[in-house]
Symmetry: D2
Subunit: 460 residues, 4 copies
């Protein structure tokens, strides 16, 4: 009888757990693991086009999107984000992007896929909106909100579990998004793609977080644009801001899977390697375990990934936090903890690598001796409000391209070198806004007019 | 009437094309594009365990394997290799690997999946066998051949289009495999995982190729273990050997997608980063285009990939060789040639990267300033015939592991540094066998007994 | 007659110039070029011992010291600093350093050599004092001042042109030094070895400068410990501080000739390469030209060098500022501007390098593919006030050494990784104090107690 | 009485030692330590012009040359080479080089300085000749020999102890030099500046050595152009050649102090960093100790240095071989063995570096994260016999320079990338001639004519 009643109790607990929403989970102190970014992963698989980065694959090739959802689920993700990144109508039609599916069709297909896979496990479905070309092109608040509203209608119809406004470079636009999403009554998370220096208009990370919480977001944080450690640092700054303002929130982080120590305020977009030469920067699974621990220690409990994350990166997060969560993800069946699977390797010197301290201390070589370890980011320093960022429906013309090619060479020549600062941990109080104001063409010492040597007075 | 008869003619030609086998295609001078390696790609997706590297996913998770086949097909692959790598019974049961499916079940499932996807496009199905633990453990020729025969029975039953004996470190075992495969009458390809120095017993690449052709292989070449340029170099040596011997063959190459300039004769297995820290070495799509061109120029017409290849890597091969093939692969719908898709990017400085010379000249940074660019490979130098390589069914014990851990530290301490040689192109005639003979523990100058300074006669 | 009167005029002008002191020169807007550091240069030549770094060579091997003075003079230096670095009695006798010459003998010999060579050209003699072991060992202000006074007595007797208090990590001690030096009525320069984060007790660079000016220093700035660009940045912060306080001063900078982007607040002392593995960090002459321009543009007019500078580095400074100074240094007879001397090279492809844009854009390779590009500095974080820094006359015992060796391993293991921040130019207003407070053992997340995998609930 | 007789014995032994010539020393198994290169060291000090690289400083600034001799003597050198590198009349007058001293004056002054310093210690004086512009310009054997003869006349008059023909890229010219030098009856050493691939006309290192020994050289070896380990490897090949031919010789090595793993057959001249950006490649003292041991173990007993060597590098050689030699050099008074001097450092974490294993295992960072670790050498591939190498007395004209600048850009664009080969030790038997034949413009695959994408048949 005891055993029987125990079993019933366990089953009921599990049912309760399964029916819990994102806020209940976070309130209970649970770790919620996000999925990884879809556009980069599916670009490598052949279903997303780099450049427009639009998610029409949800309608065009559902089997590919479904499979990626499933892999993240197996890797330990608790959240299936609808594959609706950049699925606003103004983005789907930007700069000559021509699609056979409408925005509504794509958003609906994405919701169906997320639900289908979420039901295969213990995951919630999150409907997501992201920044719009309309905002960059200086459209009105009403216009921009109307765009979010259109996607939101689909999410409501498809009854997603909660909503995420993510990938915003300007907190102003993110606040507008939160205001729209809040109308539904569903939990709202808001996630900016900014670094420790703050948003593209110079609003500090702490202040950004305060504005988002005041607008109604229950979860705030960072996604994309920077590497995991930088994103965790930025969320810490947000947390400090929220706490200093006497407010309360949950925190989330979904960084890149690329090392980006050399980024300036706009993140990896500015790196010369973006988006087709980022391979040498991809994080290992061990880097990911370090990240997961650091995020957890910082009080961030919604921990996931963005561009560059493959399912094994999410698995590494789940494995690192297995002690806190109490279980390993299904995909760990196919992964020995800290390299333990190598015990089964045929070669003895590879079996000798089946241990934690080996992998934890490894400094992996790039195999590229002709390449540097850091890059000088492009720094055009333009953002919303600058005419360069006006978007257009028509394809970029050859003439427009030529102007850009020429302009780039020019900036490269006159641009000054970035500076590298490396040192002991900076406490968040001391972290300073850097590079907040950047000229469209970076200021540079006037070109030195060096006199011809023969004109100079000669030494004796 | 003319149009009508033209249409019929075209359709008939296509039917002929579709019914052509691997040898007809190669004889006609066609480029045949292989797929990428499955074990590494599926390990990242959560379906293969690094260590045993066995392909039970074909039976366990067919949807994942099917999806990967499909992505390679879309990327341009003409060959669907059955996911039967390491699917010999002695490997499936090695060192404590416990599986719920039998070898026959796995091999059959793999054949079904390859056929299913091949039929979605213009691809051939190749049944593959690879090197066995039995050979490494010094089993007899008959024993080893019996193992190949068992897999072959499935391939015949499932009627694959041709056969590949791949991933052999010792030409002797590859010859045995070819002899078994030849009995079926199907075309046979043979591919070693050796570098320009030759096989693990010191047989030169040219001589290896000659033995394989004499054993009956119609296609010979290299797969795995080294980066693309090194593999192409090795196939060139094989071609020279075959031609010098007055023989004829077709050539294939299916390299790693990792830069491995620092490997010694056993390839990337010896690199300290293998298998969980290889990320910084992953080739970009532009590296792949260079590889495809180089392979084609070397007279190699069966061009594919192995470990580390993702679908977009194969797509890059197909895009580079599109002029020769006359068409682009389906996945190029989602890829602008040489970065052309970036014309649609919202940021002007990213649109400024939409051109060939930008990507062709980029030297991508690692983002890892604390890491070196090259590694010192492990060099235990043991191979078949050495007791260290005897395999066992039982899991490796903790005691066995401890011995390995200790031994590694010892070798590291006494090991001498590798040498880097870099220079202008080496013509194949001049390429020399290096490092053919390696001691189990590398020879080292006796530890210098430096006298205490106070014991030395003092100057002045 | 005209020519004759012109000649007389020129000679008189030169005589006026030659009789001008350091302040007259700086007041007139002249560029004053310092020399390079003597201890590192003479260590390489075999006359100074790394560890104690004391200048007994002035008395022991005057020919070597004289020759180095002469080389810096030829390279363009206007200032001959007496080779009296670390020539205070408490340093000459520290930790078992045994010398045959007294402090007075060494200081006197150094003054004689500086005067002798200064008279061969247009240079001033500067007597220099530097930080003392007594201060680090928490001796009283009176004790420390008495030590400076003893060196000063020699400088007065030998009638140097002006005085420099240099290489101070703590502004408090530097202020004491300035107070002593001021008593003589000679011009006083004060130079700290701190970075943008401020001194070792957390006083900001701006505040340090204000205190030094208030104590009576007419010239303030930075020497040693960081690379040129970092030092220029720090002097800019000092200048801002001085100007904000409504004070006036001249500025000086004498940085390292080593790239140190990875340093924390104590500079290159903490780098693992200090002092015997710094070679790969040595600046090229082109780096030096960039530095000289940057310093000049920042309003710094006393520009020299410290450890790592060789005569050709000073020559590069003089060549970059030749337009401002109106002449080239004597040693430029043996140096073509921007590589022009290569026009005389026998090999055509080397002659093809005889141009400015070649050298200005070159990114020189390290030739060390097994080495990283940045290091993790040691971060014991102890400074004056910590018992670890008490000095002793006796040699360090083997037991004391063993404790240090063990302690280092311990710190390395628990230490967290440094962070790299790289981005667009930070305006000085935004630069933040980083790493001001460092624990003796850096804080670290408690070691993760990872449960044994078999104890975890298994996923189905 | 016993002590007295012991003293006399010791003094006599020392006298015998001092009177011994180079061959007696080598025959007795002694280690003979050479000095370092003068042109690079004096260029940094301001007395030699990079480009012509001529040694007029011997006459112009004897104090600087004397001091450098003295520093190498103190560092442990047994040989003072006359500073007569490139002091042949045809080189002194090449390409607009205008000097106030005649060739005879320079050669005589150099001999006097070498003698003067050699007498301060236990060193021999070696008169040196090197390759001539006349040979490169295809002058006759008689013409070239006449040039050597002119320098030799000075050496005989000044009675040097032995002769060195060094820095020859073509063994043919070196043989001519040896034939001239042999006429004097003095011992002759011959040293080529070639790598393991052999001389610039493709003669193997072994064959070069045989020809030199047959011409009468008693000591043969390598100097300049490559890093220490590469030079030792080449001398090993020479030794094998000599022994295989049944001949006998002593061996010498005087390499660069720069890491050059990326060089092709002409060595560091081809590196883009030559000569003004080589700093990051400078060897540490610990690299030098490794080199000295390796050279000694290879049976090379005349061990010195060439370009890049500073006195402390020679001291490191002398310290490593102190057990074999039985004494430390005078300059070791100012150097603790394996960092022992750091025991006297004020900072505890620097004292923690006072031990051999610290320095032996350090992988020093470059401090240059924007720079690669290897370079692509220039590869014009022209040598004696090619019109590009004809020399001229007149200065290079602007027009001639422009042609070179243009040509370089052209070669860079069409040139293929070098290849890196890195692996286990190559035994000398296996070392292969690489890159022996290089086209003036490297062969390259014809530029791929990629069809416009719109012209290609579209998939689906």
């Amino acid at each position: 009888h005891l055993i029987y009643s125990y079993l019933i109790h366990t089953i009921l607990s599990l049912l309760v757990l399964l029916s819990q929403g994102i806020l209940e989970r976070l309130d209970a102190g649970e770790v919620v693991i996000g999925d990884g970014g879809f556009v980069f992963a599916l670009e490598k698989r052949g279903y997303v086009k780099a450049g427009p980065w639009t998610p029409e694959a949800a309608a065009e090739h559902p089997e590919a999107v479904r499979q990626l959802h499933r892999e993240f689920l197996r890797a330990g993700a608790n959240v299936m984000q609808t594959f609706t990144f950049y699925a606003s109508d103004d983005k789907l039609e930007n700069r000559g992007n021509k699609l056979t599916f409408t925005g509504v069709q794509i958003n609906e297909a994405a919701c169906d896929l997320a639900h289908e896979v979420a039901n295969e496990g213990d995951a919630l479905v999150a409907g997501g909106v992201s920044q719009t070309p309309s905002y960059l092109s200086c459209k009105s608040e009403a216009d921009v909100k109307a765009i979010f509203k259109k996607q939101l209608d689909v999410f409501i119809k498809k009854n997603v579990d909660f909503l995420i406004a993510e990938y915003f470079e300007h907190v102003e636009e993110a606040v507008w998004a939160v205001e729209v999403l809040k109308e539904t009554g569903k939990p709202v998370a808001a996630s900016l793609c900014i670094g420790p220096q703050g948003d593209m208009h110079g609003v500090s990370a702490g202040e950004c977080a305060v504005r988002l919480v005041k607008a109604g977001a229950q979860i705030v944080g960072i996604n994309c644009h920077f590497d995991p450690m930088t994103c965790v640092k930025t969320v810490k700054l947000m947390k400090e801001g929220v706490e200093k303002a006497g407010l309360k929130a949950h925190y989330m982080v979904q960084p890149l899977a690329y090392h980006t120590p050399d980024c300036s305020c706009q993140g990896f977009i500015d790196l010369p390697e973006f988006p087709f030469g980022l391979e040498p920067r991809i994080l290992t699974r061990w880097d990911m375990q370090k990240y997961a621990r650091e995020a957890y220690n910082a009080g961030i409990h919604f921990i996931g990934g963005c561009c560059g994350f493959e399912p094994y990166h999410i698995r590494a997060v789940a494995e690192e936090l297995a002690p806190e969560r109490g279980f390993l993800p299904p995909a760990s069946e196919k992964h020995g903890n800290w390299g333990a699977g190598l015990e089964m390797h045929t070669k003895p010197w590879v079996r000798a690598r089946a241990r934690r301290d080996y992998w934890q201390n490894l400094k992996p070589a790039s195999g590229r001796p002709l390449c540097p370890s850091l890059s000088t980011p492009d720094g055009w320093g333009v953002t919303k409000g600058h005419s360069d960022l006006l978007q257009q429906k028509e394809a970029t013309t050859q003439d427009q391209l030529k102007q850009l090619f020429d302009r780039r060479s020019e900036i490269k020549v006159t641009g000054s070198e970035p500076e590298v600062v490396m040192g002991s941990k900076v406490s968040s109080k001391m972290a300073a806004p850097t590079a907040r104001v950047i000229q469209a063409v970076r200021p540079h010492a006037p070109l030195i007019k060096f006199p011809k040597r023969q004109d100079l007075p000669k030494p004796n």
